[in-house]
């Protein structure tokens, strides 16, 4: 498995080899070996192995002889690996659309076109370098028990009113992303701030209730299920599993719902672009959408639903996403967010 990298290091071709010695922080790592492997596909992803392992195996089933080395990292670590360390990967999958856009904009992505990618709707690809393969809504998850006796909120203003009027019930039982550390949380928060002024009021109310801050959707959903949290705001809706638990409920916001597009791209550092292209095709092919959805539980690209539901707003890929990555803008935003969320 490691032999190609050892060889590469020995010949001095590659100094910043991907592997255990990499400087960026790896969360999970797994090899998907096959007998008589002809090539190894190097994947870096923000997606949990639990979700993506079945997808990788399905890809391997369709492409025999391809071993896969899968690394999970946070979106910021992924950015560091590709942007600063120029680590060698064939595939980068991330939920942080802004960072993926920045990678492509700054020239770290390979252009790839195929008959399959051409079938993607225009909003689901950018520059033929960033390709979306899921559409995942940012939702509020509530515990029905915690809302007992209260009307269920239908939009953000109603949620704000409920939280404001019942501080004793929601004190320290509201959770959301810590946008300082979570790239996805930052993306959701900045998009919220674009959509409506209610975001800042909501942040202030949550700050007053001494909201708990999380790194990941999974933990928030778990805490709602266990009753620690009454509300988790800006959670990836597709992560919510209802296995037998009828207490957890997703608020169908009628004002707007941001849709995050999980994207895949081929880093410029790849040495096997054809193989990487096959993986991109595997993820984006319309005929694979049902299978991918079944295996991973992630909602597939579905233009029809977006047309019917006006409140669903997919975050647009493009240079607009670079704005909130601006150093000065980010500082300003975090300062405002912090002063709202972390109150003395």
């Amino acid at each position: 498995m490691r032999l190609p990298y050892l060889a590469a290091c020995l010949t001095g071709l590659l100094v910043l080899a991907a592997g255990p010695a990499a400087a960026f922080q790896i969360e999970e790592e797994r090899n998907f070996p096959v007998a008589d492997a002809t090539a190894t596909l190097e994947i870096i992803s923000t997606g949990d192995l639990a979700i993506f392992a079945p997808l990788v195996e399905a890809f391997q089933a369709r492409n025999p002889g391809i071993a896969v080395h899968y690394i999970t990292a946070s979106s910021t670590a992924l950015m560091t690996a590709l942007y600063e360390e120029r680590a060698v990967f064939d595939i980068a999958m991330s939920s942080a659309m802004d960072l993926q856009t920045k990678l492509a904009n700054d020239g770290y992505a390979l252009t790839y076109t195929s008959a399959t990618t051409a079938t993607l709707p225009e909003w689901a690809r950018w520059r033929d370098q960033v390709f979306a393969f899921t559409q995942e809504p940012a939702v509020a998850v509530v515990s029905k028990k915690a809302f007992e006796g209260l009307p269920m909120p239908g939009n953000r203003n109603e949620l704000i009113a409920l939280l404001r009027e019942n501080p004793e019930r929601f004190e320290e039982r509201v959770g959301t992303y810590d946008v300082r550390s979570s790239g996805l949380g930052y993306l959701f928060a900045t998009q919220d701030s674009r959509q409506s002024e209610s975001f800042w009021r909501l942040s202030e109310v949550m700050g007053r209730l001494r909201a708990r801050l999380y790194c990941c959707s999974g933990q928030m959903i778990g805490d709602v299920a266990s009753g620690r949290l009454a509300v988790a705001y800006n959670v990836i809706g597709s992560y919510v599993k209802f296995n037998g638990n009828d207490d957890t409920w997703i608020v169908p916001f009628k004002d707007y719902t941001n849709i995050m597009l999980r994207t895949v791209m081929i880093p410029r550092t790849t040495r096997q672009p054809d193989l990487a292209g096959r993986f991109v095709d595997f993820l984006t092919a319309p005929e694979n959408r049902p299978a991918i959805s079944n295996l991973s539980g992630l909602p597939p690209i579905d233009p029809e639903t977006l047309e019917v539901e006006a409140a669903l707003r997919p975050i647009r890929l493009g240079p607009g996403l670079l704005v909130f990555l601006d150093q000065m803008k980010r500082r300003t935003f975090l300062r405002a967010w912090l002063s709202a969320m972390v109150q003395p």
Binding site: A104, N105, D106, G107, W126, R127, R194, R316, G318, P319, G320, L322, V323, F324, D326, Q327, M328, K329, T332
Partner: protein, 466 residues
């Protein structure tokens, strides 16, 4: 005379080709001009559009800057960059500097060489991170802590999409140019053909003329062709006059020969009666015969001259062909009797009249009968018949003579051409020429054949009915 006219002229180039080539060259030049101007204009329009968006983006960023706590503070509006992604999927870079020090953005983005002035942004096309980019720079003054600083905003966008648009426009412009060339080429071809049509018509009308038609050309012609036409007509006038003079001369000569010949013949007849010696009588008969032949030839020359003269201004009177034929047969009767030749005549009933010059037709009939008698053996029969054939009357003369021989029969219609088998008979070679010219002057024809009922010749004179 009946040799086909072969032009001893080799063509030096073609007017039509020259015209078409020149028009095509002009069309090609115009097409190229069209292509260059359209693609240049379109490219400039596309570049101006990109420049305008870049300038708007830079202005939006620049205006968002404000002084806060002794330093420049910038909150880039979302639209400032997202507007750049609205039209195409270009890479976008920006850089904001205060007095030359980068405060945010891509610190390595190069500024245009020409520094921007207040309200006068500067543009430059350069290469950044491996791609050609268009950079705009704007500058504004901003006061921070009682000090005025210069805020420079650079916004850059790659030009791949613009290049693609330019290429598309160039291809479209090329298609338009080629289309223009094809259309104008086709039109040039038509124009050249149209312009030269009067020349073709004139050439055709001159070529269509009969061999003896020397009338002036009367067709309408464009002014450029009038001098040619005038020269042609004057040339033909002179030719006609010259021919006329010749014919008149021949007629005059024949006439002058005939009168003394008649005197000689009369004297010879008288002498023949007084001469008793058989040997001398034979000599006298030969003299008379020779005089007769000479007189006949002179007569035919006269006839021919008359035909030529009268054909030019053909009389168009209606006359009875049957009656004319009977008269002619009656006139030739004595000569036929000398050889004991019987002439049988038949005519279809209700034939109708023939329109033309009776004198000419009679001359033609006389020559036909004359020939028939001359080449018929003694005690034979000549059949003359007139039959209606469609809108024409056909006179047939059949004899039991030696026929036309094996040579080219049509040749016999030529002037002074005689059959290959008649060397022993005295003749001028004008007889059939006269008949042929009369027939043609009337719009009819002369056809020569062998007598289908045995030996001899058969001659058909066809004349149109009135």
């Amino acid at each position: 005379m009946n040799q086909p006219f072969k032009p001893a002229i080799s063509a030096t180039g073609s007017l039509r080709r020259r015209l078409i080539v020149q028009l095509l060259v002009i069309a090609a030049l115009l097409s190229v001009v069209l292509y260059v101007s359209v693609s240049t204009f379109a490219r400039q329009a596309a570049e101006t559009t990109q420049d305008n968006i870049l300038e708007a983006s830079a202005a939006a960023i620049s205006e968002a800057a404000r002084a806060e706590r002794d330093q420049v503070f910038l909150d880039i509006p979302y639209s400032a960059l997202s507007m750049l992604g609205a039209v195409s999927e270009e890479r976008v870079f920006y850089r904001v500097m205060v007095d030359g020090v980068t405060i945010t953005g891509y610190a390595d983005l190069p500024a245009p060489e020409v520094p921007p002035k207040l309200r006068r942004p500067s543009f430059e096309t350069t290469v950044f991170r491996g791609d050609e980019v268009r950079v705009v720079a704007t500058v504004r003054r901003i006061t921070v802590a009682d000090e005025t600083v210069r805020l420079t905003v650079l916004v850059a966008q790659t030009r791949a999409g613009l290049a693609a648009i330019s290429l598309r426009i160039s291809i479209a412009a090329a298609a338009v140019g080629i289309g223009f060339f094809l259309v104008s080429g086709t039109l040039s071809w038509f124009a050249a053909r149209n312009a030269l049509r009067p020349l073709d018509l004139l050439a055709q009308s001159v070529a269509r003329r009969g061999a003896h038609d020397l009338r002036p050309v009367r067709s309408d012609a464009p002014s450029e062709l009038v001098p040619l036409l005038v020269a042609l007509n004057s040339f033909m006038d002179r030719l006609r006059a010259s021919l006329m003079r010749t014919e008149e001369f021949i007629a005059e000569a024949a006439h002058r020969v005939r009168t003394p010949l008649a005197t000689v013949r009369a004297q010879a007849e008288i002498a023949l009666r007084s001469v008793k010696q058989p040997h001398n009588r034979q000599t006298m008969r030969e003299v008379i015969r020779a005089v007769d032949e000479s007189s006949r030839s002179a007569g035919q020359l006269l006839d021919h001259a008359m035909v030529t003269f009268r054909s030019d201004n053909l009389a168009r009177t209606e006359f009875d062909l049957e009656e004319l034929a009977r008269d002619t047969i009656r006139g030739i009767g004595p000569t036929a009797d000398l050889k004991d030749i019987a002439i049988r005549f038949s005519a279809e009933a209700g034939l109708g009249k023939v329109k033309g010059d009776a004198i000419l037709v009679q001359s033609a009939l006389r020559n036909l009968l004359d020939n028939a008698v001359k080449y018929s053996p003694e005690e034979s029969t000549i059949e003359v018949a007139i039959a209606r054939k469609g809108r024409t009357a056909r006179v047939s003369v059949r004899d039991q003579g030696r026929g036309f021989g094996d040579g080219d029969v049509e040749r016999l219609k030529g002037r002074f051409d005689r059959g290959t088998n008649v060397a022993d008979v005295v003749g001028s070679g004008l007889g059939l020429t006269i008949v042929d010219e009369v027939a043609r002057a009337h719009g009819g024809s002369l056809d020569l054949a062998s007598n289908e009922r045995g030996n001899g010749a058969c001659v058909f004179l066809t004349l149109p009915l009135a």
